[in-house]
């Protein structure tokens, strides 16, 4: 480390009270920002869980659909037409709807029922117990083993229940990549069984899952579907549409944004003010350094180093604390939705750089303004 930076380091860390206050400010800000954005990220991921789990490349739906749960049924001819579009390798119907099941102990429980195409079972989950072909058996359902399975009383293969006066039997237990947002257990069955068991409107296809022959064919498929008055979205586009719905139409995004801004301001005000006080207290000393022969650029390096060093330590502590809290929360609350991503970490890092930048800018201005002559004058 260059000598001048070593002096800056010692000036900073040897002032234990102020250094602790600076770290607390930045750590708190990072913790809150990462926590808020991770919760948001977790909610967005869970809101797209069906899209992630089924894995279809292209989804056809009514243009008014803004999230998976609020599907608008489409007539059968749409499926036939989509199958006839150039570039479509295959297209299958998907049922997705809510239902009430009555458990053996008499308790009613809401569930999401996903009806897979009878012929292909396209998008079926990975089974950890049972065999996928058993889904064709009478009354057969596969239950997803996620945080919500406890709400069905931890069913095993053979457990039965009632669904709209129909008997249902668990024939398999599956694992999926992402669990849902609303804390409702998920049951998989065949499309035909789903529309038979659950009261339906005249049209029954919730979504059409399309496998294109190649990714180059997707724009053409989208164009042709649009001509039908429907919308074909790639997996990423559909997830983005869902995210936009939660961000802009539910108030969730605005609230998270406000909380993140508040976190930033709290962190900035605590650490900015403390850093400013630190500079003020050392101002005469910086002036003395100038008088001795330190160049303005060297003093700038010292302050930038102090601000950045504190910011990086605070960032590490904040991220560590947030990770710890989220890990503990997930251990105790299995469906706790928070997801630390590189984006949230990058966002918090960027905000911390802003805090450090503004704090050091204020200090640098003050230090560059002081004249060594002022030191002589006292």
């Amino acid at each position: 480390m260059k000598g001048i930076l070593r002096i800056a380091f010692k000036l900073l860390v040897n002032d234990k009270g102020k250094y602790a206050a600076l770290l607390v400010g930045i750590t708190f800000a990072v913790f809150l920002m990462v926590q808020m954005t991770s919760i948001f990220s977790g909610i967005l991921m869970k809101s797209s869980s069906t899209v992630i789990n089924l894995g279809a490349q292209v989804w056809v739906m009514d243009p008014a659909v803004n999230n998976v749960a609020s599907s608008i049924p489409m007539p059968d001819y749409v499926l036939d037409t989509v199958r006839s579009i150039d570039g479509v390798k295959y297209a299958v119907p998907l049922y997705s709807g809510a239902a009430l099941v009555k458990l053996r102990n008499g308790i009613f429980q809401s569930v999401t029922v996903v009806g897979l195409d009878d012929n292909s079972l396209f998008g079926h989950p990975e089974l950890v117990e049972g065999k996928i072909e058993d889904i064709y058996a009478e009354n057969a359902f596969i239950v997803v083993e996620d945080a919500e399975i406890r709400k069905l009383g931890y069913p095993t293969v053979g457990t039965d229940f009632e669904l709209n006066d129909h008997r249902g039997v668990i024939v398999g237990i599956a694992r999926v990549a992402a669990s849902g947002l609303f804390g409702i257990p998920t049951l998989y069955t065949t499309y035909s069984k789903a529309i038979q068991y659950i009261p339906s409107t005249r049209f029954t296809i919730s979504y059409i899952l399309v496998e294109p022959k190649s990714s180059d064919a997707i724009p053409h498929i989208q164009q042709q579907v649009k001509r039908l008055g429907y919308e074909a979205l790639t997996k990423d586009e559909f997830m983005q549409k869902i995210a936009n719905y939660y961000k802009y139409q539910t108030g969730l995004g605005t609230n998270i944004l406000i909380m993140t801004v508040v976190s930033f301001l709290v962190g900035f005000s605590v650490s900015g003010q403390t850093f400013y006080t630190f500079i003020l207290e050392n101002l005469e000393k910086f002036g003395a350094l100038k008088a001795i022969g330190a160049k303005g650029s060297e003093l700038v390096y010292m302050i930038l180093f102090q601000a950045m060093f504190t910011a990086m330590i605070g960032y590490g502590l904040g991220v560590g604390l947030c990770t710890l809290i989220i890990t503990i929360a997930k251990l105790r609350i299995p469906d706790y939705s928070a997801n630390i991503t590189y984006t949230t970490l990058g966002f918090a890092f960027f905000m911390v750089l802003i805090i450090a930048g503004i704090s050091s800018y204020i200090g640098i201005r003050k230090v560059l303004k002081i004249e060594p002559f002022d030191i002589f004058r006292g």
Partner: protein, 231 residues
Amino acid sequence: MNPAISANELAKWFGEGDLKTYAVNDVTFEAYFGEILFIVGPSGSGKTTLLSIVSGILRPNSGTVVIDNVDIWKLEPDQIAQFRLNKVGFVFQDYHLFPRLTTAENVAIPLILMKKDWDESIREATRYLEIVGLGNKVQLPPVKLSGGEQQRVAIARALVSQPDILIFDEPTASLDGDTGRRVMEFVKTNVLNDKRCILIVTHDSRIFEYADRIMKMEDGRVVGIEKGASH
């Protein structure tokens, strides 16, 4: 004798028009190697301003300051900073020691600014602390030292870069009479040499006996230079 500092027709004023006030007005003098020159005068007489000008801290409005055959006020700001670092040692009235650094680290600062190796700088600083009699306090922060000891740390810091010119601003203002005299005795005996010139601004008549020459100032002008008791 070869002058260490040659100041010619220096003037420094603040404000403009009716508010124009001369802090230093038409000052010409020379200071020589091997001497202690006191600059004395009442408050507001311009001593500190003059000291700042000749040490490369405050730019005069007119006049020249020649040190080592260089008119220092024709240098660029960074060159003047480098000049101060290499040629001038400062002992400030309030010492301006960093309370969060050890005494050795405080003394090493000029060497570190000269980009010398950290360990080497600390070793050299320790040597100078031994010279000023504080070899057993190198690891202590300045706040643990008495006023006289802090003064000696400041002197060690000013000396460590082996400057040609030493500037003392009111060196005894914060010290009692005995300590002040001990510090001046130390300066006279151990700091002054044939290759060094010491300028001291002071109000303290108790230490005039240590001056080789005393330059009196009033209203920004030099009103007389007389030989000190030490001459």
